[in-house]
């Protein structure tokens, strides 16, 4: 593969990498840092890429290695940032029945990492279960079960009740119910 066509392929992969990194990390700046690192590593190790194989899969494998390497460092540095973050997500706003993209990204961050990355690979990056299993170094059945648990959890986090009514009477009814429960 010539340097020029390698560069072209990398440029073409950038939107996918950024989308993957944003979904994985939930943070645009961190996502772009991850993509930057990934591109640097891909360029430095380009001899290891086998032309004809899936370049995007190769790049995403580099990206998630980078993410987890950094993540382990970060966890030591900021011990409870995840906990704080999750605490802000107890009430996800759903005005007019519409969903904010940032809320979705936040909800993704509430998923266990193995479920989140499986869901992104299958639901967003368009890999097959077989490809994802190879990338995650696990079995197809494991990927399937992670994806389905991730979907169920997201559903739970984001949906609440479809018939949920947000008006004064409904809020008053909920308050009354809570008060009764608390005073019981």
């Amino acid at each position: 593969m010539s340097e020029a066509s390698f560069k072209k392929a990398l440029v073409e992969a950038i939107p996918s990498l950024r989308a993957f990194a944003r979904s994985l990390s939930g943070n645009r700046d961190r996502a772009d840092d991850l993509v930057q690192e990934t591109l640097a590593k891909a360029i430095a190790n380009r001899e290891r890429y086998t032309p004809g194989t899936n370049l995007k899969a190769w790049l995403i494998t580099i990206l998630r290695n980078q993410y987890y390497t950094e993540g382990r460092k970060r966890k030591r540095e900021v011990a409870d940032s995840d906990g704080d973050h999750a605490a802000t997500l107890t009430a996800i706003p759903q005005q007019n029945g519409h969903l904010e993209l940032t809320d979705f990204l936040s909800a993704l961050q509430c998923l266990p990492e193995d479920q989140r990355e499986a869901l992104i690979l299958i639901g967003a990056s368009g890999f097959s279960y077989e490809e994802a299993a190879a990338m995650l170094d696990t079995r197809v059945g494991t990927v399937k079960s992670r994806v389905s648990r991730a979907r169920a959890r997201l559903e739970e986090l984001m949906s609440g009740s479809p018939d949920f009514v947000r008006d004064d009477a409904a809020i008053q009814a909920s308050t009354d119910m809570l008060n009764r429960a608390l005073n019981a």
Binding site: K7, R18, M158
Partner: protein
């Protein structure tokens, strides 16, 4: 499959139905959200530092292109450089 996603800039406050509103399958709204994330990334300009990183590859390919030219024209020129 998805209606309006490609038609212009993504607007976060509309377009995607909240869970429970999408009738067909439960996965629809999740897929829609991912598609919006991708479309947004596609619309975003590639940051300069990514592009300058990729320009390293131009630096690598340039000398080989030059040497091709040199060998085809005047082989002696290489040593004089």
């Amino acid at each position: 499959m998805v209606q309006n996603v490609k038609a212009g800039k993504p607007r976060f406050s509309d377009g995607a139905a909240a869970p429970g509103q999408v009738g067909k399958t439960k996965e629809d709204w999740i897929g829609n959200q991912f598609r919006r994330i991708y479309d947004e990334a596609l619309d975003d300009d590639i940051p300069d530092d990514m592009m300058s990183l990729l320009e390293q590859l131009d630096g690598i390919s340039l000398p080989s292109a030059e040497s091709d030219d040199n060998t085809s024209s005047t082989p002696g020129e290489e040593t004089s450089k």
